[in-house]
């Protein structure tokens, strides 16, 4: 409980981990708030069905709160004036339209969706973000992104004893300094890092990549070594083999 997990991918796509965590937490009966910034709902739904979980059912019974970034962005930019007044609350992606450089609206959305409600009898809350690097592309400053994560950690991990899983992209010799800044900072703050990398030797048909699992022994005691495990994996249609 209260763990912050960072999913990081380099030269390959780590989104299979996101799918895994999504179905894992839903099966465990947790209340999940999923910020899907890069793909549409049906994409996740189809993959989740292959993994044995139905997202539509979860959404209907209130277990899953899904923010579809693409759709919400469209509503924000092309929506009618009156629709906004009716809904009452500002759009979570409001930072895009105004010069507002904080992601407070997004955080409010997360907070309201994960607050324990009277009817919920779910296990701990979980926040899942796919993926954080997109926020930088959309105009948020790196500091704002880090603030957002910090607020989420305080709320979700400490107060509500939930978990957070965040996906970021990174490259080793990346020129995207802002992204690297965010990623490095998150690495230091996370309890568990799952790092999916393409193979260093190049492209191989059978092995899609290797995944490094770094478990921080303790965030306070710097002397202890982090526990590192490396696995190679291959993604198939319905699961991943190691």
């Amino acid at each position: 409980q209260g763990k912050f997990t960072l999913l990081r991918d380099t030269r390959t796509d780590g989104s299979f981990l996101v799918h895994h965590f999504l179905s894992f937490y839903l099966r465990a009966g947790c209340k999940v708030c999923f910020l899907a910034l890069l793909q549409s709902f049906s994409h996740y739904n189809i993959v989740a069905q292959k993994l044995g979980v139905s997202l539509t059912a979860a959404r209907e019974r209130g277990q899953l709160v899904f923010l579809e970034g693409l759709k919400s962005c469209l509503d924000l930019l092309f929506g009618e004036e009156k629709e906004e007044e009716q809904s009452g609350q500002p759009s979570p992606l409001q930072f895009m339209s105004e010069g507002a450089s904080n992601l407070k609206a997004l955080f409010d959305f997360v907070q309201t969706s994960l607050n324990p409600t009277s009817d919920g009898s779910w296990q701990g809350p979980v926040l899942l973000v796919d993926d954080l690097s997109v926020l930088l592309s959309l105009g948020a400053a790196p500091v704002a992104v880090l603030d957002f994560i910090h607020y989420c950690r305080v709320t979700v991990c400490s107060q509500l004893k939930g978990n957070i899983v965040v996906l970021v992209h990174s490259n080793e010799d990346s020129e995207d300094e802002e992204n690297e800044l965010v990623v490095n900072s998150l690495c230091h703050h996370s309890d568990l890092i799952l790092w999916a990398e393409g193979l260093a030797t190049g492209f191989c048909k059978d092995v899609h990549g290797e995944i490094k699992i770094i478990k921080r022994a303790s965030l306070e005691l710097m002397a202890e070594q982090d526990h590192v495990q490396i696995y190679q994996y291959k993604i198939q249609d319905k699961n991943v083999t190691f």
Partner: protein, 341 residues
């Protein structure tokens, strides 16, 4: 969202761009052409003519079109790719993904009488006011997005009109995005004024494409962009990224290894939609060549090896997106396999 990194002189990427649009015409899809450089009317006049009497094709495009529109889903893919539409086509009995085109001839005007097409030519559009809420994005991009959204909504590509029985696909082609002509200075300076304009534009475009029945190809002069971080973000935001590297003017032109080819194709990313994995082909070395009539993309092979080149077989995932974007590459004359484009 098909993202094509232009080659240095823009020759070949234009060709691919035209193939994409030509396929749209032949299949009866709706077209939307945007450019800041060349008037879309001119672009459309230069589309290559389809080969209708190809030996390898038994049927015309109608079957392919009907097959596509039947098993179509609402979520559209954005494919950025050069070559994404590769498809092996040796036997005429397999499903036809695309058509073949003859680059030396232009498409006759009767063919696109029946096709609804819309254009966006930036110098003409600058006079109108953007009605969209601005989000600190470049005004040219804002207008383009607004125009696309309007077309999608009006023509019912997003399923908003329940009475429209026949659902069609909109093919969007945007030429030379990010260049100076769009008012964006990412190509000219390392610290541009608004570094997020292009990425925001792509994000909103992605949203529009996901929500409606459309596919889009964008060409971008990647070699001009100084700030590499932008290219990384752009790659993350698109479904497929293909880079074309032509040999013109580089030392590779005289390299005997590349004697037969005009350039290389780099597939940087392929779409990974609706499934855990994407299909990765066996080979990553692909080259293209432009003959008098045909444009082909083949697996790069060394000259001493005189056996026929083998084209990439497309597998299911690529096939899914290829369905929407296929336009044919020229057929090689003698029974070699074709790569659909």
């Amino acid at each position: 969202l098909v993202f094509t990194e232009e080659d240095k002189y823009g020759l070949y990427s234009n060709l691919l761009f035209k193939y994409f649009l030509a396929e749209g015409v032949v299949c009866g899809h709706g077209l939307f052409v945007a450019s800041a450089k060349e008037h879309p009317d001119n672009i459309l006049k230069q589309l290559p003519a389809p080969l209708l009497d190809d030996n390898y094709r038994n049927e015309l495009g109608e079957e392919a079109t009907s097959a596509k529109s039947k098993d179509f889903q609402d979520s559209m893919k954005i494919a950025w790719r050069y070559q994404n539409l590769p498809k092996m086509e040796a036997s005429p009995t397999s499903t036809k993904f695309g058509h073949y085109y003859d680059v030396s001839k232009t498409m006759s005007p009767e063919l696109f009488q029946s096709v609804k097409w819309h254009s966006f030519y930036l110098p003409e559009e600058l006079s109108s006011q953007p009605k969209m809420k601005s989000c600190n994005m470049n005004s040219a991009y804002t207008r383009l997005l607004q125009s696309i959204q309007r077309i999608i909504y009006q023509e019912g590509f997003d399923g908003s009109d329940p009475q429209k029985k026949q659902r069609n696909i909109l093919r969007i082609g945007i030429q030379s995005l990010g260049s100076m002509l769009w008012g964006d200075d990412i190509c000219s300076s390392e610290t541009p004024e608004d570094i997020h304009s292009l990425t925001k534009f792509l994000y909103v475009l992605r949203g529009l494409l996901r929500k409606s029945l459309s596919a889009c190809i964008i060409t971008l002069p990647a070699h001009l962009i100084q700030n590499k971080a932008i290219m990384e973000r752009v790659t993350n935001l698109s479904d497929t990224v293909v880079g074309l590297e032509s040999f013109i003017g580089s030392e590779r032109e005289t390299n005997p290894l590349y004697r037969d080819y005009h350039g290389l194709v780099h597939v940087h990313q392929i779409p990974r939609l609706n499934s855990l994995i994407c299909d990765v082909s066996d080979t990553k070395d692909l080259a293209f060549r432009l003959k008098r009539k045909l444009f082909t993309i083949e697996r790069l092979h060394l000259p001493p090896d005189l056996s026929d080149t083998v084209s990439r077989a497309s597998k299911q995932d690529l096939a899914e997106s290829a369905k929407l974007l296929s336009s044919g590459c020229g057929a090689m004359a003698i029974g070699k396999k074709h790569l659909d484009f």
